[in-house]
């Protein structure tokens, strides 16, 4: 894209008038507020006490507490005040906090292993999907493949039905293969779902890289694979980054299959979070705390790759 370097004049066709810019800017800000507000609300709720979290009308100003986070990471039991009084003095600040509520910490909760599951399954399946997708997209883009269009449609068609439609067959299949509630099973499943997206997105990006680059490398003595690695991939980085983000967001947030196929060992965060139960119902501050932590890796990943993402989304995703 070429930047418009001419000064703006009142009648310039290419440059927006100051008023249009103000309106556009206002709309963007409004949209940003609308999307960011729920996120902020969750972050705030994580610091509320249980009663503040469910207060009506909702409290905007409140006494912040780390109770939500402590509850998220621990399992507690209620004790009589006498019992607590007889205990040695609390060793840490969170022991103290829990004892104020007439409870003692019985042990760590399962949030850390669940989070680790999410990381392994999310990043593992993303890596596999992007790796396989890149190879497939390169082949579709460069070689004459019989029935290429049909194959591409077939690949995409795996995305056309809702996951629930295939949930039962997959469940039965996984049970046969002993893949239920395993990390490997979840990685394979998310990879299978994401590969279709990856192939289509990456094919768009690779199509836009002129063949001459590889051909130059081929005549210069490189093999096809070397040319792919040294010439094509460095130029496809943008597309690969954008694709990786999309894949990660999908497998990170996926709920339906996770509920169905994982219950213990391989459970990820999405099915775990809604079942954080406190005394007398949902522990909303703890749920909010879990949600906040759950969002962090995606935000980090996106921020790290944002330079590529911005160009990537406007570049290859638009098919000619």
């Amino acid at each position: 894209m070429t930047a418009v370097l001419t000064k703006s004049t009142a009648h310039s066709i290419v440059e927006a008038s100051p008023r249009a810019k103000t309106v556009a800017g206002g709309l963007v800000i409004l949209y940003a507020v609308i999307t960011i507000l729920p996120l902020l609300w969750i972050v705030a709720t994580a610091f509320k006490s249980q009663s503040d979290a469910i207060a009506y009308p909702p409290k905007v100003i409140f006494q912040p507490t780390l109770e939500g986070y402590v509850n998220l990471f621990t399992v507690r039991t209620r004790q009589t005040p006498d019992f607590i009084a007889k205990l040695p003095p609390p060793e840490t600040w969170y022991d103290k906090l829990v004892r104020q509520r007439d409870m003692v910490i019985a042990g760590p909760s399962k949030v850390v292993p669940r989070f680790v599951n999410s990381l392994i399954i999310g990043f593992g399946s993303t890596f596999l999907a992007v790796f396989l997708g890149t190879l497939a997209a390169y082949a579709f883009s460069r070689f004459r493949i019989p029935l290429a269009d049909d194959l591409l449609f077939f690949i995409l068609s795996t995305r056309m039905m809702p996951p629930v439609a295939v949930a039962i067959p997959i469940y039965l299949m996984y049970r046969q293969l002993n893949l239920t509630d395993t990390r490997l099973g979840m990685i394979l499943l998310y990879t299978a779902v994401n590969v279709s997206l990856a192939v289509w997105l990456l094919k768009g990006f690779i199509d836009e890289i002129p063949r001459e680059y590889e051909e130059a490398a081929l005549v210069d003595g490189y093999t096809r694979l070397q040319a792919l690695r040294k010439v094509v991939l460095p130029q496809a980085v943008t597309g690969i980054a954008a694709t990786a983000i999309f894949c990660l967001i999908f497998s990170w947030n996926e709920y339906a299959f996770a509920v169905l196929l994982t219950s213990g060992e391989a459970q990820t965060m999405p099915p775990f979070i809604p079942f954080i139960i406190g005394e007398g119902g949902q522990d909303w501050p703890a749920v909010a705390a879990a949600t906040t932590l759950f969002v962090v890796p995606i935000v980090l990943f996106t921020v790290l790759l944002r330079k590529h993402l911005l160009r990537g989304i406007t570049f290859g995703a638009v098919r000619k």
């Binding site: 002129p210 001459e212 680059y213 051909e215 130059a216 490398a217 081929l218 005549v219 210069d220 003595g221 490189y222 093999t223 070397q226 010439v231 460095p234 130029q235």
Partner: protein, 365 residues
């Protein structure tokens, strides 16, 4: 450096035949141009020599060795692309050194060779620049550097000047030829621009619709075109054709052009009466009041030292190149005299030239 030989080369894509039975030999050290309109198969032929396409039929020999189905990387040939194909993620030195890196050459030696090449192309000051910051001409030089650095057997160039502006193209033409002479390389140069081919090449292969119509030196191709296509494609304005019907007899020195007898170079073959075309280069026409072939001046185009005058004759329109001092009035009737030794005769049905004394030993491609 190497000799390149192409035997019965054919390439078809599905139903479309891009190259049809090409045969030619490019001698060691020759600057060989493949010239033709777009879609004539010249680039496909070049890509087959490079190994970027596999032929449907035929053979390619490099120094007598059959490389038809060898990988591109195994042929030791360099290719310069029309859009240069400089790697955008590397700087100039990285681009030039890229082919050497593949051979596992040490860093110091690569740097030395890259610098040497850059000096030859006068781009030493650009070695650490990004390729995206370069001008068209400098990109061209980097692309050439990347081709030269490996000292390959032959250079294949696919319209390497096509992306440059006209002024610069002229300059690069000279530079390319100069470079070719200095390294004594075999160069195969594909272009659709007759001026480039004429000014640089030792040998030109004129191609049309997948076939090689004629191979010869620029002079041969210009003075003794083997077919109407070659005559029309080369020269600006192109050769004029005036059609007539007549039979030919070997030894004749004149043809019956409509009711007039026109002197031509001695005819070397017998032919039954058939539609023929008289081929006349614009510069071989003179105005002469008493000449029997007459026409009416339609327009004049002033070009400095010469002018192109278009004349309508009863047998078709002609373009004549006259000195700009000649005064020409539009609408005036003039007599046309042809430089008889330089006329060509063509068989309209086949498009091929009739053999005459002028033709000498012209081969049909």
């Amino acid at each position: 450096m190497a000799q390149i030989r192409v035997e019965n080369l054919r390439k078809s894509f599905d139903q479309f035949t891009a190259v049809e039975g090409s045969n030619f030999t490019i001698d060691d050290g020759t600057f060989f141009a493949m010239l033709g309109p777009s879609g004539c198969g010249k680039t496909t032929t070049l890509r087959m020599i490079a190994g970027l396409e596999l032929p449907t039929e035929g053979k390619i020999l490099l120094d007598g060795e059959d490389v038809t189905f060898d990988r591109a990387s195994a042929r030791d040939i360099a290719f310069v692309f029309q859009l240069f194909a400089l790697y955008p993620h590397m700087n100039v030195a990285g681009n030039i050194g890229f082919p050497l890196k593949c051979q596992g050459m040490g860093r110091g030696e690569i740097r030395q060779r890259v610098e040497e090449t850059a000096r030859l192309l006068r781009i030493e000051h650009l070695l650490s620049s990004k390729t995206s910051k370069l001008s068209g001409g400098d990109r061209q030089r980097v692309a050439l550097g990347r081709a030269m650095v490996r000292r390959p057997k032959a250079f294949l160039m696919d319209e390497p000047l096509g992306a440059l502006d006209a002024e610069f193209r002229h300059l690069m033409c000279g530079e390319l030829r100069d470079l070719h002479d200095r390294i004594g390389a075999t160069t195969v140069y594909v272009t659709h621009d007759q001026l480039e081919a004429m000014s640089m090449a030792d040998q030109i292969a004129v191609m049309n619709k997948g076939r090689v119509e004629q191979i010869g030196s620029p002079q041969e191709v210009y003075d003794r075109p083997a077919s109407m296509f070659v005559a029309d494609f080369i020269g600006s304005p192109p050769m004029n054709f005036l059609q007539f019907d007549s039979g030919l007899r070997s030894g004749d020195r004149a043809v019956a052009f409509h009711s007039v007898s026109v002197e031509v170079p001695e005819i070397r073959e017998d032919r039954a009466s058939a539609p023929l075309a008289l081929g006349i280069r614009p510069e071989h026409i003179r105005f002469a009041d008493e000449a029997p072939v007459r026409g009416e001046v339609f327009g004049a185009e002033y070009l400095g030292t010469t002018q192109i005058v278009t004349v309508d004759t009863p047998h078709g329109r002609l373009a004549a190149r006259l000195p700009s001092s000649a005064s020409v009035r539009i609408g005036e009737t003039v007599g046309l005299e042809f430089h008889s030794e330089r006329l060509a005769l063509f068989d309209v049905a086949s498009g091929l030239a009739v053999r005459t004394a002028n033709e000498g030993s012209v081969r049909h491609g």
